[in-house]
Amino acid sequence: MSSHAHAGGSTVHAPMAEPSGFIRKYIFSVDHKVIGIQYFLLALTAVVIGIVLSLLMRFHLVWPNATLPFVSGGQMSQEQYLALVTMHGTIMVFFVLTTAPQGGFGNYFLPIQIGAPDMAFPRLNMLSFWVTFLAFVSIIAAFVVPGGAPISGWTGYTPLSGLGEITGPGEGWGQTLWIVSISLFCLASLLGALNFIATTIDLRAPGMSLMRMPLTVWGWFVTAILGLLAFGILLAGGILLLLDRSAGTSFFIPAGLVVNDQIQAHSGGSPLLWQHLFWFFGHPEVYIAILPGMGVASHVLSTFARKPVYGYRAMAYAICAIGFLGFMVWGHHMFVSGMSPYSGFAFSVLTMSIGVPSAIKTFNWLGTLWGGKIQFKSPMLFALGFVSLFVSGGLSGLFLAQPAVDNMLHATYYVVAHFHLVMGVAAIFGIFAATYFWFPKMFGRMMNEPLAKIHFWFTFVGAYCIFMPMHFIGIAGGIRRYADASAVGFLAHLQPVHQFMTIAAFITGAAQLLFLCNFFYSLKFGPRASKNPWNATTLEWITDSPPPIDNFGGHYPSVYRGPYEFSVPGVVDDFIPQSLEPSQVARVK
């Protein structure tokens, strides 16, 4: 790639040579596509671990006295249950919901969709991945250190997380590793965010104006801005927490704290300070997990409804509005912390105002479907599932956004149901939609469609079976984080509901094996994919499957139109690629 010339609108380069040698090509690669797949595989590993942890939790909730072969002492202790809660949350939020949509698909498709040969800073990109990998190794190591995994939840609330071993098993080494892992993850995400933003601003192909970017790119772009502004806060908080634990400072630990009959030698710190720092990061993090999914859902719905996205501009602005508002609502996680009712009111109103851009998105998704020639392919099913779960999960957010209601529900399963539907499962459906949609492009082969559909129906129905009853348990007073509710008088009668959810969880978990089989089988034996198997319009579909090392084989596209030109009246095909010159569009005579 040493020379370039402008020929008409498109730029032609000599094709770039692939690096030779296994290590440079697959391990320490600077190619954004390889790094994207590395992120994806990391998230896939993490999600398997995360699901196993959640199944263990569900099992324990229903059969608390069962003897388990791999648990020391045979029966799971309450602390071990809390360790499962902590590790499940941490692994899922950071290493799945943040890693797969942004690190995985964002890395792979953002440069291609804007017509760039790579990220702006490829080596930085490689560094981001490997630091994320170190963070993952560090969190997994927490399972095997003395004391085991931490028990202070994925939010690491102080003072539980700030005092060391005295507060429980896992709060020694395990908690330290947790902080190190999260700090490394923050660092990697900051570098990644920098790369994403610079790439989107400066590497767009000629003609790719902001309002011609696919909504996926909008999702990744705004997510990166959120990450840039949020992860530094958690990193700073993590450093202070580490100092509290290891250097004897008192940022978060109050004076006169008595733990296990011992007065702690700390003075005057504020546990709430940690909550503020954590949730100032934590709420944007929720949108970091979901915005790429919104982008993918819009993209896939439009493609398989064979219609332009309804209200493209409104969709792009709504993503920006959600991102912006996301920074002003962290207090709604702290309604029960004794905050002033005036702040509570402000946070409440701001929180509910996020309903406005969310509703714009939902109605525009429905508007996109309205009157479309809908093709129920597997990516489409998952995108529809995303919309469904986002709405069902989002509605309960309106209740929780009110301090008076939240005070009652905060410690219950209602909250667990809410965030699992809206952030967890919805985002996972976004990831599945993206996987089924882009698998042909990434690996050059098609996935098995009937198997994908079976996978969809089991997962979709399963997710509702697990999380809908959870709302009722919450309203009935079922307290979250209790390791054994069967021993609590007023909760014992809810056990049959728990049993139903556990059975649903095991069936849904087993259905994921269908996905794994389909994924790995299709990698090797799936039928070959053409360049554009879905008749889609954006730039990734004009290049080979999988794309060459410089994405477009020495030819750089120019862009002539918006991203969703489906079923344009008077045009022969029902889609017009973004890079097709106006003179080349075949029109009906």
Binding site: H4, V30, A120, I201, A236, L243, S250
Partner: protein, 220 residues
């Protein structure tokens, strides 16, 4: 973080060599009009300036988290806060760092005027002043330690060490970047960009320190 900043700078300076970097002829990163969709031709050079802006925004958020923690922690009831007598040496250090910004600006204008000797001279002066600042900060730590004031002695001293430590590490990254430009970055286009972004970083770290110093001094 700080080590990463250094890596970031190295990445920036490598602009001529990076994959996808060598193919673009570039102006020396004049900031550019990033809003429009101009072609891929001048991209990476401009992207380094954009990247530095973005990086600085991230670093700013990182420090602002410490600053808000400082304000909250100090305002706690029964905070046990004993105002820290800031070592007087810090005034001198601050002057040295402010001076380094001026010598850096001088170096930059020499570079624009194609005065290579002047550039090297003032750039080296900046590096020396920066190193002096870091040495001065370490000396201030030692003075405090000699008085028996350590990281965990008091919340005010905790924050003092956190602020100076985090800033100092970032500045060390800046010094590495200055050295890199002095001795390694010779390719013309990449060098212009490198000088541009390293200057941005340095002036930012200078301004940030003045802010932190005023906070430590006036807000003690």
């Amino acid at each position: 973080m700080p080590s990463t900043i250094a890596t970031e700078d190295i990445e920036l300076i490598h602009s001529g060599k990076g994959p996808g970097g060598g193919n673009f002829s570039g102006d020396t990163g004049n900031g550019g009009d990033s809003g429009d969709s101009s072609g891929a031709s001048s991209v990476p050079q401009r992207a380094y300036v954009t990247g530095m802006f973005i990086g600085l925004a991230g670093i700013l958020m990182f420090f602002m988290a410490f600053v808000s923690a400082y304000i909250v922690r100090k305002g706690m009831p029964a905070s046990g806060w004993i105002p820290l007598q800031v070592p007087r040496l810090l005034w001198l250090n601050t002057l040295v760092l402010i001076a380094s910004s001026f010598t850096l600006a001088r170096a930059h204008s020499c570079f624009t005027a194609k005065d290579e000797d002047g550039f090297r001279h003032w750039w080296a002066t900046t590096t020396i002043l920066g190193t002096l600042f870091v040495a001065g900060q370490i000396l201030a730590w030692r003075q405090l330690a000699a008085e028996g004031i350590f990281l965990a002695s008091n919340p005010s001293s905790s924050f003092f060490y956190v602020f100076t430590g985090a800033h100092g590490l970032h500045l060390l990254g800046g010094i590495l970047a200055l050295l890199y430009v002095q001795f390694r970055a010779t390719r013309k286009v990449a060098r212009g960009t490198a000088i541009e972004v390293v200057s941005m970083y340095w002036h930012f770290m200078d301004g940030l320190w003045v802010f932190l110093f005023l906070l430590l001094y006036l807000g003690r």
